[in-house]
């Protein structure tokens, strides 16, 4: 499951039976920071994988070498089985928006993203996975569907998929596509991990990837179909806001087993 600050007391006291924890890379890049000390305690008992939100893979500017160096050091320090980030951009022209932003889906960005992802994986020296985005806008200049774009980048980079089933569902509702068409395009032999999370519906009907509630029934159903199509794969639950006590988060994660049957 995705480990957040609120979980530490429960983890340190009760040592819950979790296969591994996933942490947000950027929170631990400072080797002398207080968060790293807590992570070391977690790492002593559990494998830890790294999930980033700051790689900025699809920015116009080249990848940030200093950021990558710090990420590689962290991955080495915690001996992460794999590292992931998103197929998106987060900042440009010196400004970071701290959000996961879409681009038009066009072939020349497939090439750019694949080159960069391949370089990230080479420098990490361990599997690097790309997560599909939840998005709220599409662009008229796109010539590929989101799943064509995503699958092509994963394939051409030689990297891996972090498939977020909630994101597929959120985007499918916001853009009016069939989520099963998205699943059909996925090469499940390249899936490192599947993410689940909750979303919210705004007044105008837009679904927003809030990670602040339980997984929606439609997303569980889509997850079941993904499992049928490509399981087994590791499954991870993200709950990042309005976080309930850890036993409730673990109970939600346990539902994945029930859905798989």
């Amino acid at each position: 499951m995705a480990l957040r600050t609120q979980h530490y007391p429960h983890v340190f006291e009760h040592h819950p039976g979790v296969d591994y924890f996933e942490v947000i890379s950027e929170n631990f890049l400072d080797p002398a920071g207080a968060p790293r000390r807590r992570l070391d305690r977690v790492r002593a008992r559990y494998p830890v994988v790294l999930h980033g939100v700051g790689l900025n893979l699809l920015a116009h500017a080249p990848l940030d070498d200093a950021y990558l160096d710090a990420l590689c050091r962290l991955a080495d320090d915690v001996d992460a089985p794999f590292v992931t980030d998103h197929l998106c951009w987060t900042g440009a022209h010196g400004v970071s928006h701290h959000d996961l932003l879409p681009t038009p889906y066009v072939p020349d960005l497939v090439e750019l993203a694949a080159e960069r992802a391949c370089e990230v994986q080479r420098r990490l020296g361990r599997p690097f996975g790309l997560e599909n985005l939840s998005s709220y806008v599409e662009f008229r200049s796109s010539t590929l569907t989101e799943w064509e774009f995503y699958s092509a980048v994963v394939r051409e980079s030689g990297c891996w998929s972090l498939l977020d089933v909630n994101n597929i569902y959120v985007s499918s509702q916001n853009h009016g596509f069939d989520p099963d068409a998205y699943l059909a395009a996925i090469d499940f032999s390249r899936v490192l991990e599947v993410h689940l999370a909750g979303h919210a519906r705004e007044l105008d009907g837009t679904l927003v990837d809030t990670h602040d509630q339980a997984v929606a029934s439609e997303v569980w159903a889509l997850y079941g179909r993904a499992w049928k199509a490509g399981g087994p794969f590791p499954t991870l639950l993200e709950w990042d806001a309005k976080i309930p006590p850890m036993p409730q988060v673990l109970a939600e994660l346990a539902r994945a087993g029930e859905v798989r049957g």
Partner: protein, 286 residues
Amino acid sequence: MTREGPAWLAEFQALFGDTIRTPLERSSGTLRAQLTAYDARLVAEAADGPATNGASRLAVYNRQYWFRLFDVLQSVFPLTSRLMGYGSFNDYAARFLLVHPPGGWNLDRVAAGFDGFLAGTLERGDADERRALVECARIDAAWHDALSGARWPPFRPSLADAARLLDAHLVPSPALRIVEEHRPLVEVRRRLFHDPGASPIELPPALERSRWWAILGTGDGVALVPLEAREAELLTELGERSVRAALSYIERACTPEERALLPERARAWLARSVEHDFWIGIRFDR
């Protein structure tokens, strides 16, 4: 080093960035996206969705940008934001972020400098209230710096160190901050740390005389160490000068009565500062 993206991507990301940083409008009392302020080229490029048009879809990102950053500033400045009220606080936060947009991957750095910005721009209440709010912001910033500052092993002087300490510079812990308060704000801030919430709070009454605190990041929290005024002054000077120069500076500032007691007091303050892990090492001028 990886290559740059195509030129059109730079232009697209400039337009998108400008759009999602468009200030929210709040004349109705509710923060709203100003869709008509978006660049027409980006709006034309944004496809309509099943239920909403392209501009409305861009507005999701516009709102997310601001609300995420307001959350960050409110979490770094809980004392200030709850004393000011979130509406007023967010107005200043927005003005700050327009001048100092986030520049790196570290979300934790977004609020850096907001206390100074507030000190230069605050225009509400009387002078006393403004002074108090600026002091709140400084205490919030110090608390955050102490919590997020790197934890290095504390300095424990050897006999050899003790012999040459006068000519040394003590290196303060990155997680140490010294603050002065004219109202019991540190205590209010401490309560907020253990009991977060959103309810408004009121400024506590002024103290008869100001108090000084060392705020030091320790483990997962902070330690609060009350300081005497001269002790705080000495600790601050030790961050800038050698021990000998700092002591001389303090000695010059002392009254004759204080000066008579200074050798003994200074030894006690220095010993206490070491016991509390305020220093992480010593260095010498070449």
